[in-house]
């Protein structure tokens, strides 16, 4: 069984991020790390391949400056190989074009039984790329998976919903987006880290993939303005005079969570 995982390499969230004032996009010129939300997908893929008794996990990623640090982390966890799309022309690429680029990149790794992505990245948060990839590739899409198994060649997913979860079955190949916590990502071992440096990562450009237009030219969106998030309002302090529980219930009812 072959599984491909889309992994995003992002600026370290522990460091303060910075916006490029001219493009109004996040600066990604420094070292990038594996998006924590993609660690779950990589682990899920490794477990599915183990359960199937064979196959391999491939990775696709799109990042500037030939950056592979995050990819190496996923390779150290146990993935076998990767494709990195890195091209200055990709500056300004929107979610749909990203999906087209990643979809084309998956084909460099051969046929996949399953493509896994996080529900959304930790820096962009559009939350639309996996579904758009499925559409581009002509594959079924299952979103918000909180558990994933494959039985007799059929994908079985418990899909997180506001009310609980749906049990979904789907033919393969398919694209599935997994939620954080679907599995617990393993730590890359020392041996895994050392082995990762010799695993193949093919670096390609958009012209290698035949995707055009890309970047600002291919984007159907424009960042018009960036503003600071509003400061959090001070909370309401309820003094307990024997009736505070009623006030809390009223507060929750007002939020429509009861």
């Amino acid at each position: 069984m072959n599984v491909i995982v889309c992994v995003k390499q992002i600026p370290d969230p522990a460091m303060p991020g910075e916006l490029d004032p001219s493009t109004k996009t996040l600066k990604r010129s420094g070292k990038l790390i594996l998006d924590e939300s993609d660690g779950y997908g990589v682990e899920m893929a490794l477990q599915l391949v183990d359960a199937a008794g064979g196959g391999e996990v491939g990775l696709v990623s799109m990042a500037p400056n030939g950056e592979v640090s995050g990819l190496r982390t996923a390779l150290a966890m146990g993935a076998s190989k990767g494709v990195l799309v890195s091209d200055p022309e990709l500056q300004g690429t929107d979610a749909l074009t990203t999906a087209k680029v990643l979809a084309a990149a998956t084909k460099r790794l051969g046929d996949a039984d399953l493509i896994i992505a996080a529900t959304e990245s930790s820096d962009g948060y559009t939350g639309t790329v996996p579904e758009q990839m499925a559409e581009v590739l002509g594959l079924p899409s299952v979103t918000f998976a909180k558990s994933v198994t494959i039985e007799d060649g059929v994908l079985k997913v418990n899909r997180q919903t506001e009310a609980g979860y749906d049990e979904v079955t789907c033919t393969l190949p398919a694209v599935v987006s997994v939620t954080a916590g679907v599995v617990e990502p393993r730590y890359p071992s020392f041996k895994g880290i050392m082995a990762a440096k010799s695993k193949p990562v093919e670096e390609v450009t958009v012209s290698d993939l035949g995707v055009s237009p890309v970047g600002w030219a291919g984007a159907n969106q424009e960042i018009v303005e960036v503003s600071d998030a509003p400061e959090r309002q001070a909370g309401e302090i309820v003094t307990d005079e024997g009736e505070s529980h009623l006030k809390i219930v009223a507060f929750l009812e007002n939020l429509k969570v009861l």
């Binding site: 790390i33 190496r72 150290a76 730590y187 071992s189 020392f190 041996k191 050392m194 990762a196 440096k197």
Partner: protein, 381 residues
């Protein structure tokens, strides 16, 4: 020092492991005054954290010394000192002699399970009347055919209540002084052996530090590590590695303590402004951070020298001495700047001060480090 992407990835991995897997368990271990070392070491072995610099043929990872330095620094970021010390005993105090002087058979039987996290190990040198003064030890192994018959006692022995085997230093002849000692692999299920916990230590409370008794214990002479009668000299080499581990962990511990204190002082409002706005506090923290940086660079240079196979006795001794004194200043300052909040058990500075006080006492007290340096540098009569 040449830091590669692999070194950086390794540091990220260990830091994350410490933060998310080890630190959440430490409050319970401290309350229990015990750690499940077999479980923890097995978990760490899975990640390849035991025996980084050892021969892969015997379960090691064949890594350069920089990886050990990184591991120790990051272990120093644990919420207590007991586990970093226990790990140090396992990988850099009880096993270096075996790795260096042991036979292939001994390494397969004793070293491999230690590096695979199946055995807990301990180094048994100190005695009630012989701590840093190793030449004064009295535990005796008398040869009877193919066996040593061992009698005596050891104390302040880390990991000893859970240890599967000890690297035991005993007198094997009557020469006295630095001669006539041997290192012996001692299985703790040997008849006549007993260990009891030392209660009420000031710090390192989760560490199972014990007092050991050997009463006519018989072990094969084939368990001797290296040359009979050269135990003291072999042990001295093992102590050098121990000093390096101690200095490496201190950098991680101090680095984190200063950062936490800086954050606390930035948050804590006094007289309408953050504590950190007080120049005395900020200068004091900056000066200590500079000291930590000096030690870090010294450690890196030390690790490089060790990697080149150079004799690092003098520099490891300087590092250990410096680390012990630095961490005492850091601990005292952090506790002071936390005010009353640093004087209660629920906040980290109290345990930090208690645990790290040992750096100047254990593994050779500061005064012993000075004695070694004075002798090496010709400042003693």
């Amino acid at each position: 020092m040449s830091i590669t992407d692999e070194h950086e990835q390794f540091r990220t991995m260990v830091r994350s492991y410490v933060e998310t897997k080890l630190n959440p368990r430490i409050p319970k271990w401290e309350a229990d005054e015990a750690m499940p070392l077999h479980d923890v070491f097995a978990e760490m072995a899975e990640l390849g954290l035991l025996g980084l610099s050892y021969d892969p043929e015997f379960g090691g990872q064949g890594a350069d010394t920089t990886f050990t330095l990184i591991l120790a620094e990051e272990m120093g970021r644990c919420d207590h000192g007991a586990l970093p010390m226990a790990l140090g005993v396992q990988v850099d105090m009880a096993t270096p002699s075996l790795h260096r002087f042991g036979t292939p058979e001994q390494k397969q039987r004793w070293l491999r399970p230690a590096l695979e996290g199946r055995h807990v190990t301990s180094i048994a040198v100190s005695e009630p009347d012989a701590g840093s003064d190793v030449a004064a030890i009295r535990t005796r192994a008398v040869r009877d055919g193919d066996e040593w018959v061992i009698n005596g006692s050891k104390t302040w022995i880390t990991n000893s209540l859970q240890a599967d085997w000890l690297c035991l230093l005993a007198r094997t002849s009557d020469e006295g002084g630095y001669s006539g000692m041997s290192q012996i692999l001692f299985p703790t299920d040997t008849d006549g052996f007993s260990a009891r916990k030392i209660p009420d230590k000031l710090g390192m409370r989760a560490s199972d530090t014990g007092t050991l008794t050997f009463d006519d214990c018989r072990v094969p002479v084939a368990n001797t590590i290296g040359e009979i009668g050269r135990g003291f000299q072999q042990q001295m080499a093992q102590f050098v590695v121990e000093r390096m581990w101690s200095s490496y962990t201190t950098v991680g511990a101090c680095d984190r303590a200063l950062a936490r204190t800086r954050d606390y002082c930035a948050e804590r409002q006094v007289f309408g402004q953050p504590l950190l706005a007080n120049q005395y506090l900020s200068f004091k923290l900056a000066e200590l951070a500079a000291g930590v940086d000096m030690l870090r660079v010294y450690n890196e240079s030390l690790a490089e020298s060790a990697d080149r196979g150079e004799d690092v006795t003098r520099r490891a001794t300087i590092a250990k001495l410096t680390a012990g004194r630095l961490v005492r200043r850091v601990a005292d300052t952090c506790q002071q700047f936390h005010g009353g909040m640093g004087y209660v058990e629920e906040n980290w500075p109290a345990r930090f001060a208690r645990d790290n006080r040992l750096t100047s006492i254990g593994a050779g007290a500061d005064e012993v480090m000075l004695q070694v340096l004075a002798r090496l540098d010709g400042y003693s009569a």
